[in-house]
Amino acid sequence: MRAGDLIRFARDAATGNRLRTCLLILAMAIGVAAVVVLTALADGARRYVLNQFSAIGSNLVIVLPGRSQTGGFNPGNAITSTPRDLTIDDAQALRRASAVYRVAPLAVGTSEISVGGRLREVMVAGTTTEFIAVRRLALAQGRFLPPGDWRRGVSEAVIGARIRDELFGRDEALGQLVRIGDRRFRVVGVLAATGQGLGMNTDELVIIPVALAQAMFNSNTLFRILVEASSREAIAPAKAQVTEILRLRHEGEQDVTIITQDAVLATFDRLLGTLTIAVAGIAAISLAVAGILVMNVMLVSVTQRTAEIGLLKALGATGATIRNAFLTEAAMLSLAGALLGLALGHAGAALIRQLYPAFPALPPDWAVLAGVATALATGLAFGVLPARRAARLDAVQALAKR
């Protein structure tokens, strides 16, 4: 039998029973659409998180006091003992490195802020004027900390949007004096509201000059030094230069941990990529179910068409011809279902993007390919048994059945 004739014959056989064919295609389509939509969601989540991370600031190299072997986040980072302080002088020294564009020291602690009888606990970040550029933060009102000597600092504070709302309500916050710990600060700026992001919640942050923060917490060490490399390509050289400078400054001992944002991103990327694969696997179960349905429907079809199979044999069809006809039919139904499912899945993902524009729900290419391939493979695999049964039918008995 010619290939073209075989395809036409299988198509006619498939369209001969419209309801059966439609149900089968629908089942396959739902399976493929599930793969497409679910992987679009999972991959969208991955992209969303990566975007959030990038929002912290790009080309970042972060210096932590204490030594740690790992490249990514490590709970040990928080509790390692620091043999040598990471100081403001260290941070200032880093500005000399050629691959470094901006440096912002960061000292962190908690304190109380009060104004006019209202009092609350806040996280206080001591830093310098370049912090806002390094962290890609925006101001809602006023200005940020003024440039100047890092070891001194004027008593000025920039407060988060939520702090502003809670302390001042509808009143003007700029220019007001607030008490933080045992010092008085003038509010010079209000950060724009960012909502709950990853890392520090800047809405509930109070930012003051780093020297004042260290005095307030009675400590010489910094929590972090944020270093911005001059370009994406400069991240590696910047990391090397920072390492070298700090090693020289700490009597040849490497007692700091330097992580790049790339490493953090890579960790999350791996984590969420695995999640996407897991979700795709779960969705693939529905494809296996669709495959079993293909088998069931094809078996019923073989039973219904027993007389026809007997006739084909009497007319000179070999077992292989009949097997191929049924396999072709199964493959065509699977393919039609897969294509329909692809269209449905993409439409579903597009709908999600329409409803939640911030959420980049796009199915990854590999998931689309794998979904279609699995649909075809299961359709064919589960089509083999019915096709073999048809090919083995005894012609005499098949013809006797009416």
Partner: protein, 241 residues
């Protein structure tokens, strides 16, 4: 006379029904020349349908040999037998066995489709067959839109489209009224006049009597092998009585 077209010797066919054995065919020895017109008659259960299935290579004997045009076909593989069926044997069934979703023309073309004949050639031969059997304006009708006689004409056209040497007809008039049956028989006899060997299985005595040679079967054995007056071939074979 050269080698006969069909030569059966010592054919046995046994069916197992549970513990019991049924001898559907017992020591059938038979020789049929090319161009013969033969009727196989007998009561139901006498083994005539089994004989027809065997002649059509749809069934294999348990013992004995079957030579078709000088070639032993009992030892062929299933695929080789399918080829022989495709090229040399045409079937006409009592219940027509047309594929319901295919049109008359497509049903007629089916054997050529299975044999892998090119579409252009198929179209030519189907058009010729539709003309020969007076079905030109029924070409695009499905079987359920055709009368019984038309259906059987489509079936005969299908059986002969590959120009087989033998046409096997199993009660070809069984589902037809007298006049349409008459018409179908005339078509089959015309084929026989054209040189095709025609073997008809029937328990209709009137139909059987029209054949030049009649085989009478009973309990799986050949009871009688009778040549009519108009018989063309003197050759016959001793019944196993």
């Amino acid at each position: 006379m050269s080698t006969p077209l069909i030569e059966l010797s010592g054919i046995e066919r046994v069916f197992h029904l549970g513990d019991s054995q049924v001898h559907a065919l017992q020591s059938i020895t038979l020789s049929i020349a090319a161009g013969e017109y033969l009727a196989v008659m007998g009561p139901s259960g006498s083994g005539k349908s089994t004989l027809l299935n065997l002649l059509g290579l749809l069934d294999r004997p348990d013992a004995g040999s079957y030579r078709l045009a000088g070639r032993d076909v009992t030892t062929l593989s299933a695929d080789e037998q399918a080829r022989v069926r495709s090229e040399r044997i045409g079937f006409v069934f009592q219940s027509f066995h047309l594929v319901p979703r295919l049109t008359a023309a497509e049903n007629i073309a089916l054997p050529m489709l299975l044999a892998g004949i090119a579409p252009a050639q198929r179209g030519l031969r189907v058009r010729q067959a539709l003309r020969d059997y007076g079905l030109e304006n029924r070409a695009d009708h499905r079987p359920d839109q055709l009368s019984g006689g038309q259906r059987q004409r489509v079936a005969i056209a299908r059986a002969t489209i590959m120009r087989p040497a033998v046409v096997l007809a199993d009660e070809p008039t069984g589902n037809l009224d007298r006049t349409t049956g008459e018409e179908v028989v005339r078509l089959l006899e015309e084929l026989n006049r054209g040189g095709v060997t025609l073997i008809v299985v029937t328990h209709d005595g009137a139909l059987g009597a029209r054949a030049r040679r009649q085989l009478l079967m009973q309990d799986g054995m050949l009871q009688q092998d009778r040549q009519s007056s108009s018989g063309s071939s003197p050759e016959s074979c001793a019944p196993a009585t």
